[in-house]
C-alpha cells in the first residue's frame, strides 16, 4: 500500500518554534507573549480552563488567526505570515473543535480531499486523464482506503458523512488529515463528545498511527487522564499565557494550574 508523503516532508522533522506570539481580538488579548518549542515527533497536551486561549493558539499556528506579534517557525522556515492553506502544504494540519466535513459527500470522498497535500498532476493531465493523473488517482484511492482501514472506518467509507454518528465523523476528519502524513498535527479536543469507549479507541488509534509514522502533535484536551496517557509533554495556558510546561504528571499537579482550572475552590478548600 502506498504511503503518501507530502512534498515538504523532504527536509526537516517537524520542529515547531513559537516566539513571543500575541493574538488579540478587538483589543482584548487572547494569547499573549507565548514562546514554546514543540520538539519533533513529540505529542504535547495543551490544557487550560475555558477561554484560556488554547483554540486561539492553535488557530495562530495553523494560520486561522493572524498573529499581531511574534514569529512561528517550522524547521527554520518562517510561517508567521503564510495563509492557512499554504501552511498545510508545509505539513501543519489541524482538526476542528466542531468537526468540519463535506456534508454532501461520502466518508471516502472526504478522505480523498486530504490528498490535496500530495503532489498532483497539472490541470490538463487531470481533465484529459493522462497517465500521471491515472497514477495519482490510484495512489490517492489506495492511501484513502488504507487510512480508512487503519482507523477502522472502512465499513462506512461509502456512506454519506451526514448519516454517520459523531464519533465516526471525528475519525473521518482524522483520516482526511492523516491520509497524507502531516509534519505537525493539531487537534482541538478530539475526544470531546465521545464516550469512554470512543475515547480509548481514539487514543489507541492515534498512538498506534503515531508509533508507525511519527509526527509532531499538539492536542488540546480537557480530559486529564487522556493527557496523561497519550502525551509525553504538556503545556498549561491560562488567560492567554503559558503558566507551566513539562512532563504531564508534573504540569497537571502544579498548584498554579489547578488554581487556574478550579478557580477559587482551592482557596475555599
Amino acid at each position: 500500500m502506498p504511503e503518501v508523503e507530502p512534498l515538504s516532508s523532504m527536509g526537516g522533522e517537524g520542529r515547531l518554534e513559537l516566539r513571543q506570539i500575541g493574538v488579540s481580538f478587538g483589543g482584548v488579548a487572547a494569547v499573549r507573549d507565548v514562546s514554546l518549542v514543540f520538539r519533533p515527533h513529540v505529542i504535547t497536551g495543551l490544557v487550560g480552563p475555558n477561554g484560556a486561549g488554547k483554540t486561539t493558539l492553535l488557530n495562530a499556528i495553523s494560520g486561522f488567526a493572524s498573529v499581531e506579534r511574534g514569529t512561528i517557525e517550522l524547521d527554520r522556515s518562517e510561517l508567521t505570515k503564510l495563509p492557512a492553506a499554504q501552511r498545510a502544504h508545509y505539513g501543519v494540519v489541524r482538526g476542528f473543535q466542531t468537526v468540519r466535513l463535506l456534508e454532501g459527500e461520502t466518508a471516502f470522498d472526504n478522505i480523498l480531499v486530504g490528498c490535496e497535500r500530495a503532489s498532483q498532476p497539472n490541470i490538463f493531465a487531470q481533465l484529459f486523464n493522462l497517465p500521471a493523473q491515472r497514477r495519482s488517482w490510484r495512489r490517492d484511492r489506495g492511501a484513502a482506503a488504507e487510512i480508512a482501514e487503519r482507523l477502522g472506518i472502512s465499513s462506512v467509507a461509502h456512506r454519506p458523512v451526514a448519516e454517520l454518528p459523531f464519533a465516526t465523523r471525528r475519525l473521518v476528519e482524522l483520516a482526511r488529515i492523516l491520509v497524507v502524513r502531516p509534519k505537525v498535527l493539531l487537534l482541538d479536543e478530539p475526544a470531546a463528545g465521545l464516550n469512554a469507549h470512543g475515547r480509548r479507541q481514539l487514543t489507541e488509534t492515534l498512538q498506534a498511527y503515531h508509533a508507525v509514522s511519527p509526527f509532531t502533535m499538539i492536542v488540546i484536551e480537557h480530559d486529564v487522564d487522556l493527557v496523561r496517557r497519550m502525551c509525553s509533554e504538556c503545556v498549561a495556558l491560562a488567560q492567554g499565557s503559558v503558566i507551566a510546561t513539562g512532563d504531564p504528571g508534573h504540569v497537571l499537579d502544579d498548584p498554579e494550574v489547578r488554581r487556574a482550572y478550579f478557580g477559587d475552590q482551592v482557596h475555599h478548600a
Partner: protein, 293 residues
Amino acid sequence: MFSSANAIQVTLGGLATGSLYAVILFGIILVFQVSRSINFAYGPTGMLGTFASYALYSEFGLPVWFAVLIGIGVTVLIAALTDLLIIRRLPPQQGFDVVVTLGELLFLTALAQLVFGASAQSYLKLLTDVPVLSRNIFVNGNDVLAVVLGVAVAIGGYFVLNSTSLGVSLRAAAADPSVAQSVGINVRGLRTAAWAVSGVFVAVGAMMFAARLSVNAFYMTPIVINVFIAGMIGGLDRYWPPMLSAFGIALYQSWAMYLFGEAGGVPALFILVIVILAAVPKRLLDERHEARA
C-alpha cells in the same frame, strides 16, 4: 445644455428616485435583519400589487384610494405567503432561499405577463400631473410625495428598529433564533410579519414608480437591482449606510444619465460597483463567517 437650473432639476429627480429606493430598501432590510434571507422576487411582488390595483381601477371602476389599498394588500399577501409556504418549509440547505425566490421571480413575472399582457401600459397618475414648481425646474406632486415618503420611512424605520421593543425583538430573532424563542419571542410569527410588512413598502415604491413610467411586467426588475446594489454596498445588516447608498445611487445614476444619455445608467452603475468593490476595505465587505473553531 448645462445650467444651474438643469443641475437642480437632475438632483431633484435623483432625490425623488432615491427616496423611492429607500422606501423599497427598507422592506429588504427588514426581511434581511429578521430572517437573513433575501427575496429576489421582491420587485415582481410589488409589480403584481400595482397591476392588480390598476385593473381594479380601470376594469372595475373602483376609486383610486381603494384600488391602491387593495393593491398593497395583494402585495402583502404574496410576500407573507412566500414566507409561509416557501421559505419556512425549505430544507436547511444554504442558499436555497436565493434559489427559490429566483424561481418565484420567474413565476410572478411570467404570470403578470400572461394575465396583463406583454405591452407597456400607463398606470394611475398619482400626482404626476400636479405641477408644484415650474418655470425652469419641473417638480410634480409625485416627486414631492416620493421625497416625503422616503425621508419618513428612513427616519421612522430607524426609530422603529432601534428604539422600540419591537426592534429589539426583531434583532434578537435575527441574532439567535433559539435564544429569542426561549425568551418568549415568537420567531416564526415575527418573520412572517416582517415579510408581510415588507410588502407594504415594495407596493408603495412600485406604484410610485409605475406612475412615472410606462410599465410592463419587467419594470421592477432593474429598479430592484439598483436597490439590492445599494443594500450590498451599504451592508444589509446595517441601517444608515445602505439607506444613504440608496439615495447616493439614485443621484449618481440620474447624473450619469444626464451627462451620458439615458443609456449611460447601466454601465455607470457597473463601474460604480467595481470601483467600490476595489476600494472598500475587505472587513467592510465581510459577510458572516464560519466560526473559526
